[in-house]
């Protein structure tokens, strides 16, 4: 087994974070299979407290909070997944091309990256989602993905530049392999763990971006997500009326997700970036 992977698996922090994330995913995937009711269908009155009817009570329009939580988590994860894939794909493409080709291509691509990094992400997100005709889960996820690739591109470029000078890459080049074939077969496989790490981080930040956009009133239409639940709770005055069941579950879930990802990131960092370790 890869020694870095073995080192990771021996870390309690790593196992804890992976455990939490698996539970979260299981809740979103298995939940709707076990309980097939429609989350957008009212089961009670405005802010009914938790009861046998709805174990986490109802929200401002009488929907079952528990059901909404399951489906909302699912939507948030889907957005995270799509946005993460898009961002990682763009970042890897730009990063490997810039790092591998170097020279003018590198300068242009990194210049573009730096320009996008300097413009605040939230601004681009707001402008793009305001301009959308209708905000669907997919279009929102695409927007989030399209705005969040630059950091990945930077990191991947650095990795590629250091891999480029390896011997097996030279061998491939001398045997006449093309740029894309070398990147695909001689570069990408060697940073798979790195790309995966970038993807996980992108996924997490996409979930949080969705929540932030929803809170501003720019969430996906006609569906429920963690951010939309928070938005409804805040606009429906759930906090001020003390309906804790309506806003605490999504808040805590978002916090738990981001905390688990933080643990994951810090254990990955410690393995990949030993300078921060104490003697």
């Amino acid at each position: 087994m890869n020694p870095l992977l073995a080192q990771l698996l021996s870390k309690g922090r790593f196992r804890l974070s992976v455990g939490i994330l698996l539970l979260v995913v299981a809740f979103a995937v298995l939940g709707p299979m076990l309980d097939t009711r429609n989350p957008l269908f009212a089961v009670g009155g405005r802010y009914d407290p938790p009861s046998a009817n709805a174990i986490l009570g109802t929200d401002v329009i009488g929907n079952d909070v528990f059901l909404q939580l399951m489906h909302g988590l699912g939507t948030s994860l889907k957005i995270g997944l799509i946005a993460g894939l898009v961002a990682t794909a763009i970042g890897v493409l730009i990063g490997t091309l810039a790092g591998f080709l170097g020279g003018v291509v590198d300068e242009i691509l990194m210049g573009l990256t730096n320009v996008v990094i300097t413009i605040p992400t939230i601004v681009i997100l707001i402008l793009l989602s305001v301009a959308l005709e209708s905000r669907t889960l997919v279009s929102l996820a695409l927007i989030i993905g399209v705005t969040s690739w630059p950091w990945t591109a930077r990191a991947i470029r650095a990795q590629t530049a250091s891999l480029r000078v390896r011997e097996h890459v030279d061998v491939a080049r001398l045997s006449g392999a093309g740029t894309f074939s070398i990147i695909l077969w001689e570069i990408l496989p060697y940073m798979f763990s790195y790309i995966f790490m970038a993807f996980v981080l992108q996924l997490a930040s996409a979930i949080l971006s969705e929540a932030a956009l929803s809170l501003l009133g720019l969430g996906p239409d006609n569906t429920i997500s963690l951010g939309k639940m928070l938005q409804f709770a805040i606009q429906g005055e759930a906090i001020r009326t003390g309906a804790y069941w309506a806003f605490l579950p999504p808040t805590l879930l978002l916090t738990v997700i981001s905390f688990a990802l933080l643990l994951l990131q810090s254990s990955l960092d410690e393995v990949f970036n030993p300078r921060l370790r104490r003697a």
């Binding site: 413009i119 001020r240 916090t255 003697a279």
Partner: protein, 333 residues
Amino acid sequence: MRYALNKAAWYTMAFLAAVVLNYFLPRLIPGNPVDTIVARMAQGGGSEGEARQQIYQTFLKEFGLDRPPLEQFLNYLGNLLRGDLGTSFGNYPAKVADLIAASLPWTVALQLPAILLGWILGNWLGVLAAYRGGWVDRWAFLGFLALSNIPYYCLAILLLYLFSVALPLFPSFGGYAPGTTPHLSLGFVLNVLHHYTLPFLSLVLVLIGGQAVGMRSMAIYELSADYVHYQRSLGVDDRRIVRSIFRNAMLPQITGLALAIGSLVGGALLTEVVFSYPGIGSLLFTAIRQNDYPLIQGITLLVTVAVLAANFIIDLTYGLIDPRVRAAQVGER
């Protein structure tokens, strides 16, 4: 000097990119944007008949849709340079610039002290944890991480619920008691501070966490530096050593402070939304709900300009602050 020009060129490009993005926002909407805007506003129960016609004319003129595209863009740029951000139609006929000017002080007054206090306390706690080491460091570090990592709007929601609903110690919305008008009196100031506490706290806690995490790793790095070893070899006492570590670890953090101040406007929009606190965040929230494109554009442009300006100033002045960077910059030329 070449360095400065080079940087200026980069930031101009970033700025232009942002302006273009802003310019295209309403024009990306299919069809004639002015028609769409006015129609959407009408759906929202806006004004009727003659007033709507007047609004229509205003926007047609502002957008200059009857002109060729390049002229439209130059027209837009010209208006920007004159500080004219257009007319809001959520609050027609108020000018966007005036609306922003009225909200900005609230945001600055909320964020600037929070950023400064969070920065100072965070630096101090970070160095302390690094220097103490052992279990103090381990637990403090975990605490900082947890604080810095909780989404700031989640912390705001929790604080709001805990300290104004569950334990009604603080008011739950607004910048001052409803029904009062801002004036200078002790009672009013106390009232404002009372409303200020929770939003302020929710920002400071997150900032402390983030700052302390960064400062701690810088300080750990400095602790193992050769100059620390050398100072020790000459019998320099711990107090003096910590002082120089603090200084050297803090200099790079000045960048972070400037960036935080730069992203002040757009950095915590949701805090205001959660606490219904007046300011740019709440203004944007309303603008989005009313499809008030000129106002949205104005705010996003302000956010961008603030961030770009802060970055530019850092790039230009940082070498003056930190001799190490000055050396590196001299080396580059």
